[in-house]
């Protein structure tokens, strides 16, 4: 079961409590085993979350020590400044476009190829390896560097287009196309959802197909009545998580644009903007406010996804 599935089960369990209380014979041992994680949770996750929420209401400069010189409380000042800044909204818009285009395209491609690859196709493992490799390398700086050259003015893509007499632009340097090159890079890493879809397809009981065949269901019918419904929890799971992660993309936008988010802020993904505000302009209070806004946005997208899932995700249990 996926992490989302686990959460769903836990939430249900919490609601239907009422049976005999669970016994806790292993308290001491368990908390000893959990000690490193619990310390990490407090020091590096829970504590910092509270702190960044607080800092988002202060004027905190990176160069001052918060202990020797506590940052000034400025209320909603950072949020007001953020919402009044057209560069912020540009970055927000760029990111939302990036997420809403590249995530669905990546998942559709992964799903289609998973359906083709399923059921003992000859050469399955070779295809799978080839499709999977880019998603392991895709997060690295080297690949982003490669991308700059593939989509450059004299790059690989234009060399290919030249065969057809097309004189392509410098994709990386063009405000209308630069974001597209990063989206293509994202889609190029469709191998990881592909693997998950393949695993999901394997879990569909053969029995269902046999029964449907005996009843005379056509291939099309079997696909839409068995394969697709039983795959919807996995599609949903991939969709939720890929959206969460795509919102946080940084490396590719940074390297492809040489750290500037250019041309013309066309590739200024949210995290890149946040990095520039916090670590280049030293405005950590504003960067904290941006981080919390991001959490709210991602949370809203996730909640919307869960709400929408009622209408299309089918659970077999």
């Amino acid at each position: 079961m996926s992490s989302l599935g686990e959460l769903r089960t836990l939430a249900r369990g919490a609601r239907n409590r009422g049976g005999p209380r669970e016994k806790h014979p292993d308290n001491r041992a368990a908390y000893l085993f959990l000690a490193p994680w619990l310390i990490g949770l407090l020091v590096f996750t829970a504590g910092p979350m509270v702190a960044s929420l607080y800092l988002s209401f202060t004027d905190y400069n990176l160069l001052q020590s918060p202990i020797a010189n506590p940052p000034d409380w400025i209320g909603l000042g950072n949020y007001a400044a953020m919402f009044a800044d057209p560069d912020f909204w540009n970055s927000f818009e760029v990111t939302v476009i990036y997420v809403l285009v590249s995530v669905p395209l990546q998942l559709v491609l992964a799903l289609l190829l998973a359906l083709v690859l399923d059921k003992g196709l000859r050469g399955l493992t070779i295809y799978r390896s080839i499709f999977y490799l880019p998603s392991l390398l895709g997060g690295s700086v080297a690949i982003a560097i490669l991308w700059r050259q593939v989509f450059g003015k004299d790059g690989l893509l234009n060399g290919f287009l030249a065969w057809f007499g097309i004189d392509g632009p410098g994709w990386i340097g063009h405000p209308d196309y630069a974001l597209g090159t990063i989206m293509v890079l994202h889609i190029w890493t469709f191998g990881s959802p592909l693997i998950i879809f393949l695993a999901g397809l394997r879990q569909i009981p053969e029995l269902y197909y046999e029964a449907a065949e005996m009843d005379g269901a056509s291939k099309t019918r079997r696909f839409f009545s068995i394969t697709l419904p039983l795959l919807t929890p996995i599609i949903f799971f991939n969709l939720v998580l890929q959206i969460i992660f795509a919102f946080q993309n940084f490396t590719q936008a940074y390297v492809v644009s040489g750290g500037t988010g250019g041309p013309n802020d066309a590739t200024m993904l949210y995290t890149l903007f946040l990095y520039r505000v916090g670590f280049l302009e030293y405005d950590m209070g504003l960067a904290s406010a941006m981080a919390w806004f991001l959490v709210i946005v991602i949370g809203a997208f996730t909640a919307f996804n869960f709400w929408l899932s009622k209408y299309w995700v089918f659970y077999d249990d």
């Binding site: 368990a30 490193p36 959490v295």
Partner: protein
């Protein structure tokens, strides 16, 4: 964020309704006794399509490798991957092109990666054992919290974490990148191991219990040896993610002698006044090589680990 998704009208997933072409691909699971000519043509078409997609996927990588072996002036003059004029010159130049020899950066990346692997194996396996095998107060709540931290955007803890490490005087050391691993901050691996331990036969643990083994012994002598595949998956993923990590080193490491390969490679973009693309390509290949080797060796564990946890 919970849902009650019981009685859902099946299959209204319009997003994938365009999959009609693939319908035939999904359905025929039984090995049909005889293959009609139509099936054969379908199969040929399918493979042709898959091979085409494979070439598109892999071509940029092949081009990168070939270009790194071409003389600099040939790289963009002739974009083809078929050439006889090959040289290792770019590797020699690129190795010494930056402020330090590339071996420095490779060593830094190796130190960070190996330490991260040890940290993750240590801390995540301990936590996973508790979640999977022990009964304790607050287990469900903590488990839910653990799952949620996997999905938490890192930006929201970033600035206080940076402040902590800065106040500790750990900037320009590897500690900010390593210490969190020893405290199981990569909770994804806890989840991966929990899934694995849960699937082990319960009888083994009960037998050890009856023999009077304490939890530490059961963990060390029964659980760990059995969960080697999960540990391997963790080690491989940790390696790939740490080796590729760019954001962490970018903010915590400012001195060139502390750079890992990811940040060092950035140097080629910063100084690209000359047009030494060959060196940049060559060192890019060098930086990808460890990932590629790990992929080849560990593919089995990667795919298995991915499939069982559904990746996060």
């Amino acid at each position: 964020m919970t849902t009650e998704t019981n009685n859902v009208a099946p299959a209204t997933a319009s997003a994938t309704a365009s999959a009609s072409d693939e319908v035939s691909a999904a359905a025929p699971r039984r090995s049909s006794a005889k293959r009609s000519p139509r099936d054969r043509w379908l199969s040929v078409g399918k493979h042709a399509g898959l091979i085409l997609v494979s070439i598109i996927m892999i071509y940029p990588l092949v081009w990168l490798v070939v270009s790194s072996l071409k003389p600099n002036e040939d790289i963009f003059r002739d974009l083809s991957i078929f050439t006889t004029n090959l040289t290792f010159e770019n590797y020699v130049n690129g190795w010494n092109d930056l402020s330090h020899p590339f071996s420095t950066f490779l060593l830094n990346s190796t130190i960070i990666s190996v330490a991260s692997i040890i940290g993750n194996l240590f801390a995540c396996s301990l936590a996973a054992y508790a979640f999977a095998r022990l009964k304790f107060a607050g287990r469900n709540l903590l488990f839910a919290i653990m799952l949620m931290t996997i999905m938490l955007p890192f930006q929201v803890t970033l600035i206080p974490q940076f402040t902590i490490f800065k106040e500790l005087g750990w900037l320009n050391t590897f500690l900010p990148l390593i210490v969190p691993k020893f405290l199981a901050v990569d909770a994804f691996f806890i989840f991966l191991m929990v899934q694995f331990i849960r699937a082990l036969p319960k009888e083994l643990f009960e037998a050890a219990r009856i023999d009077g083994a304490g939890q530490l012994r059961i963990f060390l002598q029964v659980t760990l040896p059995l969960m080697i595949p999960a540990l391997a998956t963790t080690a491989i993923f940790t390696f790939i993610w740490t080796w590729s990590d760019f954001f962490g080193p970018l903010i915590y490491l400012r001195l060139p002698e502390t750079f890992p390969v990811s940040v060092a490679l950035k140097g080629f973009i910063d100084v690209q006044s000359s047009s030494d693309f060959g060196s940049m390509f060559a060192m890019s290949v060098v930086s990808l090589l460890p990932l590629f080797i790990v992929f080849l060796i560990g593919q089995r564990y990667l795919i298995k680990g991915f499939a069982t946890t559904g990746m996060k």
